[in-house]
Subunit: 159 residues, 2 copies
């Protein structure tokens, strides 16, 4: 049963990684997110801060909004969110507001992560919704994707 | 000098309160936000969670995004954000990401506030941008607006 859940988590994280990879190829910071309900893909999005000049264009925000629109509901109670990088405070807060059931992320973000690193907002007992969290699914692959991207950007003199 | 800044803060908070009031009249939770740069209004928005079925439709998010679009920039370095209620974790994180210079808010939110109540995300030394905060401008008026709204909603059996 545990193995089946792990395999399912890896399957969806691979989808999120593929979205992230495509973003990286288009010069966007390679972070991807997918929202899944009842074993089906509801929404997928990449980070889009550079593309859209949107300071708030993180993959999680775009995917959650798309999923809510698709469901016609403000709440994503039965949904799982897969992300390739630990969500920041903004995205962690959004995950609580949208009442996501489960968060699964790949790489930790020691600089700005708010789901275990700097804070653990989705599991703060003082807030009115709490989220189950699974960490580290395909973390090496997600971390490598990001470090390769920033290495290439530095080589181009962009960062 | 202090008095001039206070008067300026009250002026813009009144704008935010007016936006909040209009939202309340339209059955939306009455929270308003305005973004100001160089003494001019850049963007104004009300909470829109009920209207748009958007779990992330807080006034601050909508106003910050509109201001970034207007400026054609991801960053709002020289901007002040006025809000009638202390921002939640999502909005506090967004304020940091957008690199807002100053946050001015009216009423504290002891249940979900992330700018001094539960957390103080905009002034977390571990994050890469820090925001000046002024609290309590027209707080009584903003608090009254919210409590009147929820009292009326309860009377209607809606909450």
């Amino acid at each position: 049963m545990k193995a089946a859940e792990y395999n399912e988590d890896c399957k969806w994280m691979r989808e999120a990684l593929e979205v992230a990879r495509q973003a990286g190829q288009a010069q966007e910071v390679p972070v991807g997110a997918v929202v899944v309900a009842d074993g089906k893909l509801l929404a997928a999005a990449a980070n889009a801060r550079q593309w859209g000049l949107d300071p708030l264009g993180h993959a999680e925000i775009i995917a959650l909004r798309a999923a809510a629109e698709k469901l016609g509901s403000r709440y994503l109670n039965a949904c799982s969110l897969y992300v390739t990088l630990e969500p920041c405070p903004m995205c962690a807060g959004a995950i609580v507001l949208a009442r996501v059931e489960r968060l699964i992320y790949a790489a930790d973000d020691p600089k700005a992560g708010a789901c275990g690193s700097l804070y653990n907002i989705p599991q703060d007992a003082r807030l009115n919704h709490h989220v189950a969290i699974t960490r580290g699914i395909l973390a090496d692959e997600a971390g490598q994707l990001l470090s390769d991207f920033f290495k290439a950007q530095r080589a181009l003199g962009k960062k």
